[in-house]
Symmetry: C2
């Protein structure tokens, strides 16, 4: 969980509530009851906590530490896909060691969001019964903690990566080759996120192409990838089945949840959604893609 | 029609038969009987002419001028989407004034490939009866011949453009907005080609998203966009109907024909296709996109 300070050509927004966990849990909360593990500082706003409670997100694993909340500052260019990091303040995240409440130790789907792979391993050890483990990462760990990263990758069922990470990991420019290569490194399903160009989902015997929902009003792409993962995994938890058919549907729900995230700054749009708005967009998505 | 000298990180190929007309006509020839208007020099190989004849392409409009064939030399980076022009020799194309044989003056679909918009206007005047006029262009004409370009755009039914051209024309970064804006400039249908990311087709009351077929073996992307247009328009001519449903299907056929074009250097792969190979890939495409 984080504060995001975001600058676009149109506006600057200071310390919006954000972070991978926030976006992912909010998006998933429309399909299931997510349990989160995260740390914030004493400066984290009570209203955000209230919002998570209202969305029925389990907060037993949310730790409030003395100090300040992790803070990222980024800037987007005229093209909302050009993003640069301006500042990064680790704060209470610096020494965070995720600890799972005992009520979390049985879980159907465990999502290891981007964090040091040694900590991801540690979390894996804490969970007793789990059906599906999904992981995300970032180029830093593939570069600097490769052995630990590869160990985790071998143990998970599902791997989310963006284009750059997939290419870095496999040394393949072609994403179809890259996705298939990652399947041979452990996971049964690989989801490659291509930002504004959608995503690809790979299984042992299929590839599924996921178009991005056609958004006219892209305001702030922060959190779209995490909202994709939240919609994807939330949907799978709801239907309680992971096979080719449901992976495809999950991709569509992920794409739709991502499209909401980028229509406003921070979690604004996600927080104001309803199931009927989501269903309507799923129908629009079908019209957009069917032939 | 052109000679293309192409360099990729793997190979260099001198003077391959290429050009917009070649790719487009070959791709369309699997659906209809294209009639071409083009110029080549005396150095153009007889085998290529033979191939066009074998594919039942009407060559009455092919002019052989004394001199050399247009010659483009380009280089692709490790990422096949990075292309740079190394050399451009206009040769017989320099003073080309397209003249339509009388047998061409009634036509169902007229495709004005990329050429000076004043020449596109001139061709339009030569055709008596036509159902559908489609056009392509390039940034040069939008920048340097805007009034003529806009006049042609107002007269056509269908406009093909790539991302950069659409953004240049509309000053919109968002492609959904850009596509809709171009609809207000004349054409009933706008097809925005996004290279390796697929395409978008716009009509008055719909947007259709077209995924690229998942190719593992991208050898040479030259001509993929023209093959897309050839498959798209060839299909429409075959079904002899232009509505939302068939525009969507045309997008799929266009995408599939483009995928063949880039699997080998030059027209190699396109020339060796059969209808059953195309149909098989259409089925694979359905599997790739359906949910």
């Amino acid at each position: 969980m984080a504060f995001d300070t975001i600058e676009t050509p149109e506006a600057r927004k200071e310390k919006l509530v954000g972070g991978s966990c926030t976006y992912c849990a909010l998006a998933a909360s429309f399909f299931t009851r997510p349990k989160i593990v995260a740390v914030v500082g004493e400066d984290f706003p009570e209203e955000a906590i209230e919002l998570f409670r209202k969305r029925d997100i389990d907060l037993q694993g949310l730790k409030v530490s003395s100090g300040k909340t992790f803070h990222w500052e980024g800037r987007y260019g005229d093209d909302p896909n050009q993003r640069s990091t301006v500042k990064l303040e680790m704060n209470v995240f610096e020494n965070f060691r995720p600890e799972l409440p005992s009520a979390y130790k049985d879980t159907d789907i465990l999502f290891l969001a981007n964090i040091d792979p040694e900590l991801q391993e540690d979390i894996l050890r804490q969970v007793k019964n789990k059906k599906i483990v999904a992981m995300d990462t970032i180029d830093t760990w593939i570069k600097n903690k490769k052995p630990a990263f590869l160990r985790v990758l071998r143990k998970v069922d599902m791997f989310f990566a963006n284009e750059e990470e997939a290419r870095l990991l496999t040394e393949e420019i072609n994403l179809i080759k890259a996705g298939k290569k990652i399947l041979s490194m452990g996971p049964s399903f690989v989801i490659l996120k291509k930002g504004e160009h959608g995503a690809l989902a790979f299984g042992k015997d299929f590839v599924f192409g996921i178009l991005p929902y056609p958004c006219e009003g892209v305001v702030d792409p922060t959190g779209a990838g995490d909202s994709f993962a939240g919609g994807f995994l939330g949907y799978l938890d709801k239907v309680n089945r992971v096979d080719m058919k449901e992976i495809r549907n999950a991709g569509v729900f992920g794409s739709v949840m991502a499209s909401f995230a980028l229509e406003d700054f921070g979690i604004h749009r996600l927080a104001s959604l309803s199931e009927s708005i989501i269903q309507r967009r799923i129908l629009d998505y079908k019209k957009f893609t069917s032939f």
